[in-house]
């Protein structure tokens, strides 16, 4: 199996690694870089659990070879929070109960991130179509839609909306 040396940035850090031609990007990210937040849920590009951003575009990383990401800027769920602050989407998923088992969540957040970058003010229907490549078996999607609406509102207005309560001692 022939090997290639690739250089790419992942969440702003540059990596140079040797990979086999056939190594999938999702395996490279999870196993070579130990970024296990990107998940695998199928083998037919159907579930979206493996979604990450390559040069800003949401990509199903189970259907892309690592060598194809040579020279690219990759963003995974681990890079979404900045300086310890949650991204509005992460906040939205937490506030609005947009996750249960959490397995689809990183892929959902990455798809939603692309959606909001392209369309900061989506309608409910646009949100539903925007995440239609991501399957969730737990939530029934309503609260994911609300989570994305929360993030869109927050990003637009820079203001906080009340959601769930947080207990503190």
């Amino acid at each position: 199996m022939s090997k290639h040396t690739i250089t790419l940035t992942v969440n702003g850090n540059e990596f140079t690694r040797e990979v086999e031609s056939r190594t999938l990007l999702v395996h490279f990210v999870r196993e070579d870089l130990d970024l296990t937040g990107t998940h695998i849920g199928c083998d037919t590009t159907s579930c979206g659990a493996c979604t990450l951003l390559v040069n800003g575009r949401a990509i199903k990383s189970c259907t892309m070879f690592a060598v194809q990401a040579n020279g690219a800027a990759v963003e995974t769920i681990e890079g979404v929070a900045q300086n310890g602050d949650l991204h509005p989407l992460q906040e939205g998923f937490w506030e609005k109960h947009g996750l249960q088992c959490g397995y689809c969540t990183p892929g959902m957040i990455m798809s939603a991130k692309q959606l909001l970058e392209q369309n900061p003010n989506p309608t409910e229907e646009e949100i539903r179509w925007g995440i239609s490549g991501n399957l969730c078996r737990c939530t029934g999607y309503n609260k994911i839609v609300e989570a994305i609406q929360y993030a869109a509102a927050k990003a637009r207005e820079g203001q906080t909306e009340a959601g769930g309560e947080e207990a503190s001692s």
């Binding site: 296990t36 159907s46 929070a81 992460q90 689809c104 239609s132 399957l135 078996r137 999607y141 207990a167």
Partner: protein
């Protein structure tokens, strides 16, 4: 604490003992302030920060030094003799460490067969023949997952194909015998009955109206987005087997592993880490798990096995596959008098259902549902076919979905026969007195079915919808309204009746309060997304006044958590949740003694107030739970043991019976036959609510898993027994686009026997939703003579009906 007074106004006294008469309250009860966050608060989930940042720890995330990878060779035939297996080329490949075959398992102590949870047996790896498509044939262990996958292609298995038997009715004829290993050469596995046959036959002979319907509840797959997998790590020096496993029941699995493998149970540690959805699919022990553990035993190295999606859909346990014939009898006044049901249960190649041992057809006999009737008789026969074994829940309490689908469908068929509105027929026949003894022997704990029906009808605007439907029908448009007033039965269960492989179905909690007033609580269950880390903490906050944020909840590690039977069948709140409350009450009893000592008063002079014991009549004299915790380690009363902790193994006195009414409105496209769910109102009653936000989430998710089989999902086999639904491109999970905006609400009828008055919610919507949708579609087409449609209701099926009726061409 005066600011809390107004909160107590909403407090309904907890029902006690056998008194089952409880008033209806719709308002969620809150007794603690937000900083404590006991029951009723919409507390944000404690588990979420790790998940939203990609820091969950699922089985495939586990990486151990020197870890090997396992992959599996699977059968391309549904039924075939194995002539030979040639693994020489695979073994000669660099990086391939071992190939494990049936003979190897046999030599290792008869591990080529394993017991199922239903006291049947199932092959781990075959020696003579395979009995289903995609059956595990042998396993390859390699240094890399790609090498293992390559090696699969280098193993040459010669098969001699045998005739498959795919249809269970055919299987009953015993022309092809699936299990030649059995002494009895028949595919018939068991016959099971409930109710009174004679009384039922009598009711039917006297009935003014009888309706009959056959229906098939097709094979489904739970399809959690995470598939199943394991990392087994056997240390030859310490003889310790550490296993990371996608397990909904890690303690029971440890016992099963010990019994099957002969390894001593204290040398086996099962860790069920974060689980990416279970829905029943992670209850059984699959052959892959056994092979993976054996691979680690043999190599002395950690071995990882993660199924891919096709393997998961093709070989893991299915759900449903019930072929039902149901008859309902009613008198001249439209009062339902009896139910007679015969059912064929297609078990596949082994009875590997995940039911309590004494219940081969699960809790199917709950099928008289929400209606009071004189008599019922239910018969179920289990049969082998050359399909994967199983019979798991798909987010349901042991076959209750099949039961509810059947009763809610025939009730609508009876309404059509009587020319009555389906809502009114239901109302007229509802059970009204609780506790209620059903004709098949259940004792329903509490209910208020009419309240849920009324609320659902009012929320959706039922009368207005019926007017709209009449207008639309006059214009030739197709619109339907469907109702389902279901009764669930969850929380298995009382030890007198419920066990799995002899282990009683209690569950457990252990709470330890640290000197600074923080706590760790461990449970015998295992969350797969249900939010136990939050809701269990809220239960403890409710009982002890410790802020829920200060309670660390842990589950899933058999070395540390108390023994329990796990999470499925909506049993966590009814059993482990109750254990948590009972353990907290034990702690509270000790805390009272410590408070009395510290305040120098008698215990009788003290009263509990949210988070403290105070002296009656002088509340300023008080000791908070934190004060008491500190004293338990620093200044405990002479003669008393130090520390503040308790364990409870809770054996529920009865099951709980959540219920609700769902109403669905559909519009049908005449040209394509496509069904669109326009509105769906779900009114649920699960007793007292621990976290309304989590309950809503459970209901939304459950409804979507009810929509799925009604309109989309089915595992299909061709006549050769080949699975035609082996990918997500063929087995269609609803996306955000197909899922409607669910409208939810609740009534609250506490369980009289549960310490918190709670009942469990995760599965009601999966159980209740499908018949509401089917009833709506049939209602939309009833004027065309349509009485019943089998699920999934695909556009093609509807389009054919429309064409037959001359509505479309």
């Amino acid at each position: 604490m005066s600011h809390l007074d107004d909160r107590f106004e909403h407090h309904t006294p907890k029902p006690e003992g056998a008194s089952a008469k409880v008033d209806l309250v719709d308002e969620v009860q809150i007794k603690t302030p937000p900083e404590i966050c006991g029951m009723g608060h919409r507390m944000k989930r404690k588990e979420d920060p790790r998940f939203i940042q990609g820091k969950g720890n699922y089985v495939d995330d586990v990486k151990l030094p020197g870890m090997l990878y396992m992959d599996i060779v699977r059968s391309p035939y549904a039924h075939a003799r194995i002539v030979s297996i040639d693994d020489s080329e695979a073994l000669a490949t660099e990086g391939v460490v071992a190939v494990i075959k049936g003979q190897d398992l046999e030599a290792a102590g008869g591990l080529h067969w394993m017991p199922t949870l239903m006291s049947d047996t199932q092959m781990v790896l075959p020696i003579d023949k395979v009995v289903y498509y995609a059956q595990e044939v042998c396993a390859v262990v390699a240094t890399d997952r790609y090498i293992a996958a390559d090696a699969i292609e280098k193993i040459f298995v010669e098969y001699e194909p045998l005739e498959p038997v795919v249809d269970p009715h055919e299987a009953m004829k015993d022309k092809v015998i699936v299990r030649e290993d059995k002494e009895q050469k028949t595919n018939h596995i068991w016959h099971w009955e409930a109710g009174d046959k004679e009384a039922t036959d009598r009711v039917f002979s006297e009935a003014a109206h009888v309706v009959e319907q056959t229906m098939h509840i097709p094979r489904l797959h739970v399809s959690s987005i995470e598939t199943c997998g394991m990392v087994a790590n056997y240390n030859k020096a310490t003889e310790h087997m550490q296993i990371y496993m996608t397990s909904q029941a890690p303690h029971a699995h440890r016992t099963v592993f010990a019994l099957v493998s002969g390894l001593p149970e204290h040398k086996i540690q099962i860790i069920s880490p974060d689980i990416g959805g279970g829905f029943g699919g992670k209850v059984p022990v699959y052959p892959g798990y056994v092979c993976c553990a054996v691979a680690s035993l043999v190599t002395g190295k950690p071995v990882k096995w993660i199924e891919d999606r096709s393997e998961n859909l093709q070989a893991d346990s299915f759900a449903r596959d019930y072929h039902i014939t149901a008859e309902m009898a009613a008198d001249a006044d439209g009062m339902i008098t009896g139910l007679r049901v015969k059912t064929l249960s297609d078990c596949g190649a082994a009875d590997a259902a995940a039911n309590p041992s004494k219940f081969p057809a699960g809790l199917y006999s709950i099928c008289t549902g929400s209606y009071d009737m004189q008599a019922a008789h239910i018969e179920v026969d289990g049969v082998y076919t050359t399909k994967p074994p199983g019979g798991v829940a798909y987010r349901c309490s042991f076959r209750v979905t099949e039961a509810v689908h059947m009763i809610e469908r025939v009730t609508d068929i009876m309404a059509a026969e009587l020319g009555q509105d389906p809502a009114e027929l239901r109302r007229k026949n509802f059970i009204r007195e609780f506790p209620y003894k059903s004709p098949t022997g259940w004792e329903y704990d509490s209910g208020n079915y009419e309240a849920a029906l009324d609320k659902a009808m009012e929320t959706i605007g039922y009368a207005e919808l019926r007017r709209e439907q009449a207008e639309k029908r006059a214009r030739g448009e197709l619109m339907g309204i469907g109702i389902s007033s279901f009764t669930e039965v969850v929380g298995a269960g009382p030890s007198r009746d419920y066990d799995i492989l002899g282990i009683k179905m209690f569950d457990s909690a252990e709470i330890r309060i640290h000197p600074t007033g923080k706590a760790i609580a461990r449970f015998g269950t295992k969350s797969q997304g249900q939010g136990h880390e939050t809701t269990y903490a809220q239960i403890i906050a409710e009982e002890l006044g410790l802020p829920a944020a200060d309670v660390q909840v842990e589950e899933g590690d058999t070395d540390t958590a108390p023994y329990g039977l796990g999470t499925y069948a909506s049993r966590s709140t009814p059993t482990a949740g109750a254990a948590g409350a009972m353990a907290a009450r034990k702690i509270k009893a000790k805390a009272k003694k410590i408070a009395a000592y510290l305040l120098e008063v008698g215990e009788d002079d003290l009263e509990w107030n949210v988070d403290r014991f105070q002296v009656k009549g002088s509340p300023e004299q008080a000791k908070t739970i934190q004060d008491i915790a500190f004293a338990a380690y620093t200044n405990h009363p002479p003669g008393m043991e130090a520390g503040l902790e308790a364990t409870d193994y809770y054996d529920p006195p009865n099951l709980t019976f959540p219920f609700g009414t769902y109403i669905c409105v559909v519009d049908i496209d005449k040209g394509t036959g496509e069904v669109k769910v326009r509105r769906f109102v779900a009114i649920d009653d699960c007793g007292h609510i621990i976290n309304p936000m989590v309950v809503e989430g459970q209901v939304h998710g459950g409804l979507t898993m009810g929509l799925a089989p009604a309109l989309f999902e089915e595992i299909v086999y061709d006549e050769n027994g080949q699975n035609l639904s082996g990918t997500f491109a063929d087995y269609l999970l609803p996306t955000a686009v197909e899922s409607p905006k669910w409208e939810t609400g609740h009534t609250i009828t506490p369980s009289p026997h549960h310490p918190l008055g709670a009942k469990g919610i995760g599965e009601s919507p999966t159980v209740g939703a499908p018949p509401a949708i089917v009833n709506a579609v049939v209602d939309a087409l009833s004027h065309l003579g349509v009485k019943h449609i089998e699920i999934p209701i695909t556009p093609e099926k509807v389009w054919k009906l429309l064409r037959e009726a001359g509505v479309t061409d």
